[in-house]
């Protein structure tokens, strides 16, 4: 355990001492928040207003709460994955600059080394994404606060779980990388593409049927949905309280992916947690197995 602890400490320290890597990870959620508020806020607002029956008057605070909940959930859904990738690039950098060789000439077991990268990435990702969540919560207090204490706790749980998922996905993908060029390429692809396939930039509900079925197989879809549910549930309840018809509210939930469907069947919140958790366990298992196989191959 001491070995794992010391190696994890080394990895975490390196991440926080690498100003480029740390700063990029830290500012990404903040930049996303500013970009979302600036460019998507009005679009989301108009979309929501168009879904409310014309006969109903609704306060600005509720609309701002809806828009804020969607922005915050989108930012967190993307950040948990991109920050994990950014943090986990240390593993690739170690290969690129030869440090990995210095580690593997020692008798340390490959699963200890791989776990140390995983745990360090997880710690860094959770620290940064939990900070991002706190900033988002502060934003919501100004935009329109409808969260209960349990919603806030569940948002933290979601961020933790998505950080586990992001770390697991990045561990498996980064395992195959070994150069700075590959780091840049994968970083760019993930930053640009992940937001679309997890439904953060555009609701999955707006995708075609085929594409909806494909993304329903991906764990990120449910991560976004969990965050949406916990960031927006309070404001939806308030809408019902002020008299908006339940059907209209349900339709709105569908349109922002609070309700997601797996081949036509609505997926319950508990099933989303189970699906993401099982995916994390499977990916961590694959990651450890890949490292063990590599180590075995090298020693033959």
């Amino acid at each position: 355990m001491n070995i794992l602890f010391t190696l994890t400490k080394r990895n975490v320290k390196l991440f926080f001492k690498d100003k480029g890597m740390f700063f990029t990870s830290l500012v990404t959620p903040a930049i996303l928040l500013v970009l979302y508020v600036t460019f998507l806020g009005n679009l989301y607002r108009d979309t929501f207003l168009s879904q409310i029956p014309a006969s109903f008057q609704i306060s600005d605070k509720i609309i701002n709460g809806l828009v804020g909940g969607q922005l915050v959930s989108s930012i967190l859904a993307v950040s948990c994955i991109t920050v994990a990738f950014c943090s986990n690039f240390l593993m690739v950098q170690d290969k690129a600059n030869g440090t990995a060789k210095d580690l593997t000439i020692s008798p340390v077991k490959s699963h200890i080394l791989s776990l140390s990268y995983y745990i360090a990435t997880l710690i860094s990702t959770i620290l940064i994404c939990a900070s991002a969540l706190i900033i988002c919560l502060i934003y919501l207090t100004f935009a329109g606060w409808y969260l209960t204490f349990s919603h806030v706790i569940l948002l933290f749980v979601d961020v933790f779980l998505l950080s586990f998922l992001g770390t697991a996905i990045s561990s498996v993908i980064n395992f195959f990388l070994s150069t700075q060029g590959q780091i840049s390429a994968v970083g760019t692809i993930i930053s640009a593409g992940y937001g679309f396939i997890c439904g953060a930039y555009m609701p999955i509900y707006s995708f075609g049927d085929g594409l909806q079925k494909v993304v329903s197989l991906l764990p990120g879809t449910y991560g976004t949905s969990l965050l949406r549910n916990h960031a927006m549930q309070g404001v939806f309840s308030e809408m019902v309280n002020v008299g908006i018809p339940t059907d209209a509210v349900e339709q709105m939930k569908n349109s922002v992916d609070c309700n997601v469907f797996f081949f036509g069947n609505k997926v319950e919140i508990s099933s989303m947690y189970i699906f993401i958790s099982v995916t994390v366990i499977a990916l961590v298992g694959i990651y450890i197995m890949l490292n063990a196989l590599k180590s075995k191959k090298a020693s033959k």
Partner: protein, 302 residues
């Protein structure tokens, strides 16, 4: 002296390139072993195979009685490696670097602090412990690299061009440490270097060329076998030197006469006592050995 490294019929190819071909040699316990060759001769490939970083195609490697094929963990504990380029973490302090590397061998807590104290005294870096590794000078970094290689008290220290690019003072410090480890701790030192004066300090030398052993022996044996001697003659007239009918080279204030052996030099001096009043006999250098064996100079090979 017992053998600590035994390499037999080692082969390694990368595609069509035979990096190491049927390589066999032995390193005795406690000796300073020099492994010479131009870049691409197969030195690093051999070291990487010994350190379990590369898979061999065929052959046998036994290190301190442990067969590489029957488990690499024991071998990894016996080897300490100083790589050509430093591979420690530039962003971390010297203390943090050594702490994380010691942990790889299960050395943590008080055991680490005790070992760190020993090494920082031996390599004189107590004042550098809190400094960021990336901000150290080349010589300071090299000392820390050696400390990292010694952190787990290995039986064999592998030094891959440890003094390249260092100032004379740091080179001297590093060589003092190598002698200290060899003499007082009976550590085997496996050295690759481009400095022939360093190779001439070795107990045994293997010269590698195109992945094969071209020559091996003690520096004295190699000099005797592959180079002649020189008589440096002062205060002489060139006509008299010419009359010896031996190849010579004129320098600023002397003539450097090539002879095949010390015996021949002695015979010539005894036959020409009037000419040889102020002279010295020197053996060929390791550079000459290397050139004679491989047809290349080490600087040319770079």
């Amino acid at each position: 002296m017992e053998n600590i490294i035994e390499i037999s019929n080692l082969n390694k190819s990368f595609g069509d390139v035979h990096a190491v071909s049927d390589l066999s040699f032995i390193v005795k316990k406690g000796e300073l072993f020099a492994f010479l060759g131009v870049n691409g001769a197969g030195k690093s490939t051999t070291i990487n195979i010994m350190c379990t970083q590369l898979k061999k195609d065929s052959g046998k490697i036994i290190i301190d009685g442990c067969d590489l094929d029957k488990g690499s963990d024991k071998i990894k504990r016996r080897l300490g490696v100083v790589f050509q380029a430093s591979v420690l973490d530039n962003a971390l302090s010297v203390y943090d670097n050594l702490e994380s590397r010691a942990a790889l061998y299960g050395i943590t807590g008080d055991a680490f602090k005790k070992r760190l104290d020993e090494l920082s005294t031996l390599l004189k870096f107590k004042d550098l412990l809190k400094r960021t590794f990336g901000k150290l000078s080349g010589g300071q970094k090299r000392r820390i690299d050696i400390a990292r290689a010694l952190i787990h008290q290995p039986k064999i220290l592998v030094l891959d061009e440890p003094t390249t690019g260092l100032d004379p003072q740091t080179r001297k410090l590093i060589w003092d440490v190598i002698y200290e480890l060899k003499e007082n701790q009976q550590m085997t030192v496996f050295l690759t270097t481009h400095y022939m004066e360093e190779a001439s300090e070795a107990d045994y030398v293997v010269i590698l060329d195109n992945g094969k052993v071209s020559a091996k022996g003690t520096p004295h044996e190699l000099k005797t076998s592959y180079t002649g001697d020189y008589i440096t003659l002062y205060n002489a007239c060139e006509d008299n030197v010419k009359s010896l009918n031996l190849p010579y080279e004129k320098t600023k204030d002397s003539y450097k006469i090539s002879v095949s052996s010390t015996k021949e030099a002695t015979d010539i001096i005894l036959k020409n006592p009037a000419l040889f009043t102020d002279y010295e006999i020197t053996k060929g250098k390791m550079d000459d050995v290397f050139l004679s064996v491989t047809g290349k100079s080490l600087t040319e090979g770079n």
